[in-house]
C-alpha cells in the first residue's frame, strides 16, 4: 500500500500509459483525447459556423466515457491514494520559482494560484483562459495532442507526430523561458 500512496516513478507511469493505449486499440479504440474538443463544439451546434464541426459525433461517444473515467480516476487518486501532495521537483526548479516570487513551490500538486479567486486577476485570466485557448487552438490545428501525437503517433512511427512534438517543445520552451517569468510576476 505504501508504494501506491507515494508518488509513482516514471517507470511505472510510462508503461501504464502504454498499457492503456494498447488495451484501447485491442477493444477497437484509438487513444487521442483532444478530438473531444472538436466533438463538444460540434454537439453545441458549432457546425453553423464551420464545416469542421460537421462530424458524426456519435462514433466518438466512447471518448467521453474514457474522459469521465479519467476524471473519476483523478478523484479517486486525490481522495484515497495520496499520503501527501508534495511534488518533489528539482532544487533548481524550486530556486527558480522562488526567485519569481512563488511561495513553497512543489508543496502541492499545483501552484497556489490554482483557485477560482485568481480568475479575477490578470495573471489568472492569462494562465487559465488564454492558456486554455492556446491549448485548444493549437491541438486542433496540429490535429492531436500529447496522447494522439506524442504517444499514439510516435508509437506508430509517424513523421508528422515527430514534427508536432518538436512544435510542442518550441512553443513550450518559448513560453517557459521567455514569457512565463513575466506572467508569473504579474
Amino acid at each position: 500500500m505504501e508504494y501506491i500512496l507515494s508518488p509513482w516513478p516514471w517507470y511505472v507511469a510510462g508503461p501504464l500509459i502504454t498499457i492503456v493505449m494498447a488495451l484501447l486499440l485491442i477493444v477497437g479504440r484509438r487513444f487521442g483525447i483532444s478530438s473531444s474538443l472538436q466533438v463538444m463544439c460540434s454537439m453545441a451546434g458549432a457546425s453553423k459556423w464551420s464545416d469542421y464541426f460537421k462530424i458524426d459525433w456519435k462514433s466518438k461517444s466512447w471518448l467521453f466515457v474514457f474522459i469521465i473515467g479519467s476524471m473519476i480516476g483523478g478523484y479517486i487518486a486525490s481522495n484515497y491514494l495520496m499520503s501527501d501532495t508534495i511534488v518533489s521537483i528539482s532544487d533548481n526548479t524550486i530556486k527558480n520559482l522562488e526567485s519569481l516570487g512563488m511561495e513553497n513551490p512543489g508543496m502541492d500538486l499545483a501552484p497556489d494560484f490554482f483557485t477560482w479567486g485568481s480568475l479575477f486577476t490578470l495573471k489568472g485570466i492569462i494562465i487559465f483562459l488564454l492558456g486554455g485557448f492556446f491549448v485548444g487552438f493549437g491541438v486542433r490545428w496540429a490535429n492531436g495532442c500529447t496522447s494522439g501525437h506524442a504517444i499514439s503517433g510516435l508509437s506508430n512511427l509517424q513523421l508528422p507526430s515527430l514534427i508536432a512534438v518538436i512544435g510542442f517543445f518550441i512553443g513550450g520552451l518559448i513560453m517557459t523561458w521567455l514569457i512565463l517569468p513575466h506572467i508569473l510576476t504579474l
Partner: protein, 137 residues
C-alpha cells in the same frame, strides 16, 4: 461491456497521470527547464514500449476483440499544421501546465477552476474551426 472496459481504462489513466504527477503544473515547468528526467522518462518509456507493442502486433497480425485491424493513426503528410499548431499548443501547455487529458483529470482531482481552461480550449477549437481554411496546413 465495451463501455465498461473503456471506463475502467479511463480510471486507470486518470489515476496514473495523477500518481505519476503528470497533471502537476510544476512537473511541466520543470520539464521545459530540463531540470528533471521525470517527464522524459514517462513519455520516453511510454513511446518505446508503444513502438515495441505495435511492431509485435503488426508482425503477428493481432486484431481487435471484434477481429478488425487496429485503428492506427496515419497522419497526412506535411509539416506546417504540425509545427505551427504544435507550437501554439506548446505555449498553452507551458502556461496551464496541462495538455487536454490532464485538464479533465485536474477537474476530477478537485481543481475545479480548470473548467475555465477547458472553456478556453473549446473557444480556441471554435476559432480554429472558423479560421481553418485560411491557415496553412
Amino acid at each position: 461491456m465495451k463501455n465498461l472496459i473503456v471506463l475502467v481504462l479511463g480510471i486507470v489513466f486518470g489515476i496514473t497521470l495523477t500518481k505519476g504527477e503528470i497533471i502537476s503544473w510544476f512537473r511541466i515547468y520543470e520539464m521545459f527547464r530540463f531540470e528533471s528526467f521525470h517527464m522524459y522518462g514517462v513519455i520516453g518509456s511510454a513511446v518505446i514500449l508503444g513502438v515495441i507493442f505495435l511492431a509485435i502486433a503488426k508482425r503477428t497480425g493481432w486484431k481487435t476483440t471484434e477481429g478488425q485491424p487496429y485503428d492506427l493513426i496515419e497522419y497526412r503528410k506535411g509539416w506546417k499544421r504540425y509545427l505551427f499548431g504544435g507550437a501554439i499548443f506548446g505555449l498553452g501547455w507551458a502556461m496551464t501546465g496541462a495538455c487536454p487529458g490532464p485538464l479533465y483529470i485536474l477537474v476530477g482531482y478537485g481543481y475545479t477552476m480548470v473548467i475555465m481552461s477547458i472553456l478556453g480550449a473549446l473557444l480556441g477549437t471554435l476559432v480554429y474551426g472558423v479560421l481553418k481554411k485560411r491557415l496553412p496546413h
